[in-house]
Symmetry: D2
Subunit: 314 residues, 4 copies
Amino acid sequence: MTRKIGILGCGHVGSTIAHQIIIEGITDTLVLIDPDRDKLSADLLDFQDAQVNLSYHTKLIANDYSALSDADVVISAFGNITKAWETPTDRFAEFPYTKKYVEEAAPRLKASAFKGVLIVVSNPCDVITSIFQKITELPKDQVIGTGTLLDSSRMKRATAAALKIDPRSVIGYSLGEHGNSQFVAWSTVRVLGKPIKKILKEGAYPNADLERIDHDSKMGGHIVFFGKHYTNYGISAAALRLLKAVLNDAHEELPVSNYYQPLDTYLGYPAIIGRKGIIEQLQLDLSVDERTKLKQSADFIKDKTKEALKKNTE
Amino acid sequence: MTRKIGILGCGHVGSTIAHQIIIEGITDTLVLIDPDRDKLSADLLDFQDAQVNLSYHTKLIANDYSALSDADVVISAFGNITKAWETPTDRFAEFPYTKKYVEEAAPRLKASAFKGVLIVVSNPCDVITSIFQKITELPKDQVIGTGTLLDSSRMKRATAAALKIDPRSVIGYSLGEHGNSQFVAWSTVRVLGKPIKKILKEGAYPNADLERIDHDSKMGGHIVFFGKHYTNYGISAAALRLLKAVLNDAHEELPVSNYYQPLDTYLGYPAIIGRKGIIEQLQLDLSVDERTKLKQSADFIKDKTKEALKKNTE
Amino acid sequence: MTRKIGILGCGHVGSTIAHQIIIEGITDTLVLIDPDRDKLSADLLDFQDAQVNLSYHTKLIANDYSALSDADVVISAFGNITKAWETPTDRFAEFPYTKKYVEEAAPRLKASAFKGVLIVVSNPCDVITSIFQKITELPKDQVIGTGTLLDSSRMKRATAAALKIDPRSVIGYSLGEHGNSQFVAWSTVRVLGKPIKKILKEGAYPNADLERIDHDSKMGGHIVFFGKHYTNYGISAAALRLLKAVLNDAHEELPVSNYYQPLDTYLGYPAIIGRKGIIEQLQLDLSVDERTKLKQSADFIKDKTKEALKKNTE
Amino acid sequence: MTRKIGILGCGHVGSTIAHQIIIEGITDTLVLIDPDRDKLSADLLDFQDAQVNLSYHTKLIANDYSALSDADVVISAFGNITKAWETPTDRFAEFPYTKKYVEEAAPRLKASAFKGVLIVVSNPCDVITSIFQKITELPKDQVIGTGTLLDSSRMKRATAAALKIDPRSVIGYSLGEHGNSQFVAWSTVRVLGKPIKKILKEGAYPNADLERIDHDSKMGGHIVFFGKHYTNYGISAAALRLLKAVLNDAHEELPVSNYYQPLDTYLGYPAIIGRKGIIEQLQLDLSVDERTKLKQSADFIKDKTKEALKKNTE
């Protein structure tokens, strides 16, 4: 059957994801949902003008939840940049707004009888992913957040820059919350055939150290945010990678926000991704310190989720 | 040697073009120039974060004109959306700003000893293309505006929608100014193996007529502009198509802004595009009415260009 | 749902089509059917070795007709090169062999309950397409031969070479049988914004004439055949283009072998291609001479088809 | 400047590599060299017929060594399948033939003043790479064999099949000769975030063991070879990956045949690949057993190379 993908929220992130999907010819039909009808109509026509000069043809549908019933994947990309921008160091500043959206969008998605995989990009990613799963009642394995896939990419970018190698040749994960409590699990990071710690100890890169890389990795995010008040290209590429792994049933390993039973919460942790969503979760041998950080990050996400759901029922 | 492309101006349009270039892996090195250093650093890092999850590797260089000396193609994409937005029906509202930019950028591009093909997306496209050519003193054939390539795409989009066919199966051109005086040369438009006028006369599409298609084609542009205050996806795809024709030395036929000797001005008119820019210009058999419209459009462009250059020397 | 494509026959043509599908990441699952189990296992493993270094993941299934039940598109690519090679000027030399295959494959395809679009590459293309449709009892619009799409491509290649332009900038069709009775409908061929006949009359290309282009176009096929005893790259690209138009429901115009009611036979004639196969057939204004050639070509196809089906029931 | 790639030898492997390059639009100009002029002309026309329906335009040049002077990369893909097929277990059966070719081609390549990166696919890969370097006198870092990049891909394919994951999620290398003395360096192989030995010990994959994976990995090669008497798709994807890393100056880590100083020979060993070829060689922490195997493999390559060069000067 025809491939069909839906995107909830077509702001900076959603429309960039849509653009990349259209350019790469990933889908036959793309359903775009956004409350700002004028902006959505504008993007839709702009995409159609683009298609005249592209290699693939993509059918575009606007603001029709019922069209999501047979979608393969739906991507939630709504957000509120303005609010986030006012308190940029806190991803939860956006929360009141994305929470409102998810509470509106999730029941409508459920009502559409959508049975595919839901990918959540909206922030705070782990909490919104959790709420989406609860409201839609989709199996936990079918609701995935991009989570620390972007943080891991930033760690790879910073590591690669320090060692002058291709970021795709860096192995490893950032874990936990897609937010301030996330951390690089350095025990998992490998470059040039060895653990990065060993490489740095060997002394060939005197100007590189983990703290500086960690700092560059995180500062990168801030530079992007302060420079243009939103981020879209990095997150779009991460979302597309996850999307393709689902569509192709690739069983590719990616660190994403998925339900982690030992700590009873969604959080960024590597898993095998396929057509059914999470096929299998990795079981990392983390250091004691990393396990502590993961628990702290999990606690933070759980508190915020509980708080959110509590307010909800008050 | 390495492929190298430069982009002057990384606002909505420039950064979208850069993104598409990076996603499609068109170049080895991409030089981005923009006076807003914070925004540029933000985009640059965001692109680097994206590359971790893309198929190609692209080296990015920021704000270094000297790096353009051996570029294959430079794309001028600067503009001033805010000003354009205040008087959206007039593409010349942006002119004082883009004129200032071109007068600053063109001498620096010339000073870099750039000898490749210059593609101009900045508006008013035909005038800015002309000024760029005059200041850089590059051969006229090496300075090309996207011109009515976008208008032609919009005509194809509207025609295709009316006949329920793929826009890539519509043949024909919009000619003249990339602005209000442009017109669809209906004598050149063919669908389903015949001139569109004949197809419509045959009666199989009772709800389609040229005026409506023309209106939809132009309204499209306004809907995009009013809906999001800029356009980026359609123009990006048009620029990429032109870019690839140049890089591949494809000798592909495209309606672009190029110097049209009979009317002594740059204007949108089909030409054969290759590594040296304009390889050959078509010689259309236009109707009397279309020839008149082309002359009127040319006169408008020439007046505006003269005016601009006059003010320049005052 | 997952995209699924099947290929019947994995010789030179079938495996090249499979390769291009895998490289471009067109499908999630690819079902390959071939009686030569050793060759098929070899290709399958070779494709899997390739996928380690490709951008997309494609699941491969071998020799399972039942897996075709929910395929979107099945491509018939079987043939017998050796036999064809013995009498290369006659595409019907292959017929006894492809006829045997189609009589074996078509009932099994029917039994699989396949309900998608069937694309026939096997030669003699128009006759095999017709037999496939009769045996499978799929709607006529869902059974399409690549037909003169390849001949049209060769005409474009030869025309482009004569005029030093990109073959993608040549418009027009070769019509009729994908075989010796096919002909270029020169009345439909346009380059540089005009009918090719007019362009040649205007005298800018003194060394180009229709006869020579026609000859180069046809000789090309022979050079390929005599040089390597089969053709695969040109036909693969043609099949992929048709395949994408179906999958994307693009409504793209392509000259393919489809049922032409006025002459009651499958033959090469332009049509609009979409998810349901043939969406609409063009109605060309051919010259008297072209209409005669089309009828002659149709008569030839009809005779051969009748003959084939007669032998079948004896 | 224009991207230019050359291919020496257009048999099964060379023409498949050419096809993938053309489909992916990797280059602007492709120079194909082969003594069988009829086969080459056939492939060339077949590629041109294909380009009518592809997204990119590639200029093709046949049998012109002088056109290689400014090529970015030249790929040696000549071989003699028939001879190899007679004694398939011995990659050196092909040697008398490829040796003859390299002794003819290398001086002509040198005479062309080619200064780019030379990628050698021809077998026996490590020996031919070494001879090419000696004759062309190109810097050692600019002459690279695909070597165990293909063996590593096969190991990943077999490992991935055993664990039901994407082969792109398997990390690790096969080292040494691209031939019978090669071995999987299991100490480098990691899956699911851990060394594969640990994963297998943990017991979640009772049916997977290293010996079986190793066997499947190697048998795969034989199944391909016995099934179709040559391999082309896997090696083409490997060559393209290496090619892109060079063109993009990606600094990507890949196990390829490169000069390994400690054992004074070309052999398969991971390195960082960029525009200048080998940018940096990894320094693996191999086990004692693996170091022994690497030395044995190196000795074998050195003996064969010495023997070859000796015969040469007799």
